[in-house]
């Protein structure tokens, strides 16, 4: 035995290595015959056992009113609260004095999906959505403008409800 090797006091009573090996082989063979549990992702996106939670915070979505205009009034709360500083908002004002966003961009790459923008929004305009498949081929494509945010159709996140902390 080499110098400095600590010899452990291993249990040597009541232990059968041959038996343990055979038991292990039986176990692995049983697993070999069991049904596969992997969800075949691109084909199957949700099952009875697994579906995306309603309070999932994913790709943003801007809601629109009945006339198809963005609900956003460019109050500036969301860029103010955004911890990742990923929302770019340039406010504008029409003849009637209504504020609206001239530019509204969210960089989904910088976003940490905390959901504060949805929580802080007084008009319930910007939302985080129940959606996660937002891969792109270039970094630029991750900057969603107002038109693209409004065009999203996925359900919006319910966020965390203090009265129902486990989401049941």
């Amino acid at each position: 035995m080499a110098i400095g090797v600590k010899v452990m006091s291993r249990p040597d009573s009541g232990v059968s290595y041959v038996r343990a090996t055979l038991k292990g082989m039986v176990l692995t063979f049983k697993h070999l015959l069991q049904p596969r549990v992997t969800m075949q992702y691109p084909e199957v996106r949700s099952t009875d056992d697994w579906r995306i939670a309603t309070r999932w915070r994913g790709t943003h979505r801007m809601l629109t009113d009945a006339q198809g205009r963005s609900k956003c009034v460019a109050c500036g709360l969301c860029p103010q609260i955004c911890p990742a500083n990923c929302i770019k908002l340039v406010p504008g004002e029409d003849e009637a004095g209504n504020r609206y966003p001239l530019i509204y961009e969210i960089d989904e790459f910088r976003c940490v999906f905390c959901g504060y923008c949805q929580e802080v929004c007084p008009e319930e305009a910007i939302h985080v959505g129940v959606h996660y498949e937002n891969a792109e081929y270039s970094r630029e494509r991750f900057v969603y403008d107002l038109e693209r945010l409004s065009a999203q159709t996925h359900p919006v996140s319910t966020l965390w409800d203090p009265s129902d902390p486990k989401g049941e």
Binding site: S16, R19, M25, L32
Partner: protein, 409 residues
């Protein structure tokens, strides 16, 4: 050149082509099978994206390996670094040449081709590339050549991980080579021949050697695992401590050659277990397969394939069951258990065969093998008793006793 020589050359070339193709395709499918079995044992489906149920995965892997960039470490010994994969790959490919794949095919052909002339072949065509009279000695010699490639790959890469992997591989393979070789001596004693065809014929007359030579089989199987560097003995490429061992620095097709060699070794070890201990291409409980003919050749080939397939599966099954040995445990198992066991077993079997020859010289081969089998029962029991520190007979699958008293919450 006589027509007979030309006929021999023609059929030998055909057999070489067939065996090489079968080995390469088999290796490719084994890489898929390994990943499938790994997946199934972990309740996953395994690779299933390329082709129907993932069947074309080896093709995709092959194409990937061909078009990947070949890298050479800056300070590597370039010539040795390049030649090492070939040194590992070529002996691994040569091993299948001596293993009989099916019953001999009786042939009587006489035909004339334009330009090439007349070809004649009469007699039994052995279903093996080279029916060498030195049989498994050839396999022992060539399988141990692979260690040069591994050791050179580790040394030439100029990387500490590769070097350690290469050193471990050489030490391990040389250690277990001894036990592997000695475990085959009882076969030599019992069959009186090292040629595979004779060994198979002996097993057909008596019992498969698994019965009369069970401990040889046990030592051979374990040494075979160590020789192929498979789990639980894959210390040369122990990824937790050595990155990937001796092929850490290799990429693309050079790396692929190491993988092919490893899988070809598994194939050879499985085929050898089949041939030496499970009757080779013999179909049990019938002598129909010994009559010779096309149907017999095909059926015996299927039997050989099924047996080999089982042992390939067994190797993979063990891989996903047992964890890796510690290096000193590996060495003490090899030198302190397997080697003495093989030596003592040679003495016991030699004595038993001598006693049988003296006491009952006219006994039938089956009865002789049966008597040896009865002798194996107490020896096997004793060996497992010793290996298991006397626990196997108590059994009952007790829980391990905690080292510290009161450790259990």
């Amino acid at each position: 050149m006589t027509p007979e020589m030309k006929g021999f050359l023609l059929f030998s070339s055909l057999k070489m082509l067939a065996v090489f193709t079968m080995t390469m395709v088999g290796v490719a499918l084994m890489t898929l099978m390994e990943r499938k079995v790994a997946g199934w044992i972990q309740n996953r489906p395994g690779p299933n994206r390329v082709g129907p149920t993932g069947l074309l995965q080896p093709v995709a892997d092959g194409i990937k390996n061909f078009i990947k960039e070949e890298t050479t470490p800056a300070a590597a010994n370039r010539s040795l670094y390049t030649i090492a994969p070939a040194i590992t790959f070529i002996p691994a490919m040569m091993l299948m040449a001596v293993i009989p794949l099916a019953a001999p095919l009786p042939l009587a052909v006489d035909f004339t081709l334009p330009v090439l002339g007349r070809f004649v072949y009469t007699g039994d065509l052995p279903m093996v590339v080279a029916d060498l009279p030195i049989g498994f000695l050839f396999i022992l010699a060539f399988s141990s050549l692979g260690v040069y490639g591994v050791a050179l790959a580790g040394w030439a890469s100029n990387s500490k991980y590769s070097l350690l992997g290469g050193l471990r591989a050489s030490a391990q393979m040389i250690s277990y080579e001894v036990a592997l070789g000695l475990s085959l001596v009882p076969i030599l004693l019992l069959s009186g021949n090292v040629a595979f065809s004779e060994i198979i014929r002996n097993q057909q007359e008596g019992l498969w050697y698994i019965a009369p030579l069970f401990l040889s089989f046990f030592v051979f199987l374990i040494s075979g695992f160590a020789e192929t560097n498979r789990l639980p003995f894959d210390l040369p490429e122990a990824e937790a401590e050595l990155v990937a061992g001796y092929h850490s620095e290799y990429s693309a097709m050079k790396f692929s050659l190491f993988m092919i060699a490893e899988f070809a070794h598994i194939l050879t070890i499985s085929a050898m277990v089949t041939t030496l201990f499970f009757g080779g291409w013999d179909i049990p409980f019938t002598s129909w397969d010994e009559q010779g003919g096309v149907a017999q050749t095909l059926a015996t080939h299927l039997a050989f394939f099924a047996k080999t397939f089982f042992w390939i599966f067994f190797v993979m099954w063990i891989r996903w069951t047992l964890p890796r040995f510690r290096y000193d445990q590996l060495m003490s198992l090899g030198w302190k258990v397997m080697l003495p066991l093989a030596l003592v077993y040679i003495v016991v079997i030699a004595g038993a065969i001598w006693a049988l020859d003296v006491l009952a010289p006219t006994i039938s081969p089956t009865a002789r093998a049966g008597a040896l089998f009865l002798l194996n029962l107490p020896i096997g029991w004793g060996v497992f008793f010793f290996l298991d520190r006397g626990r196997i007979v108590q059994g009952v699958g007790q829980r391990a006793v905690p080292i510290r008293a009161g450790a259990e919450g």
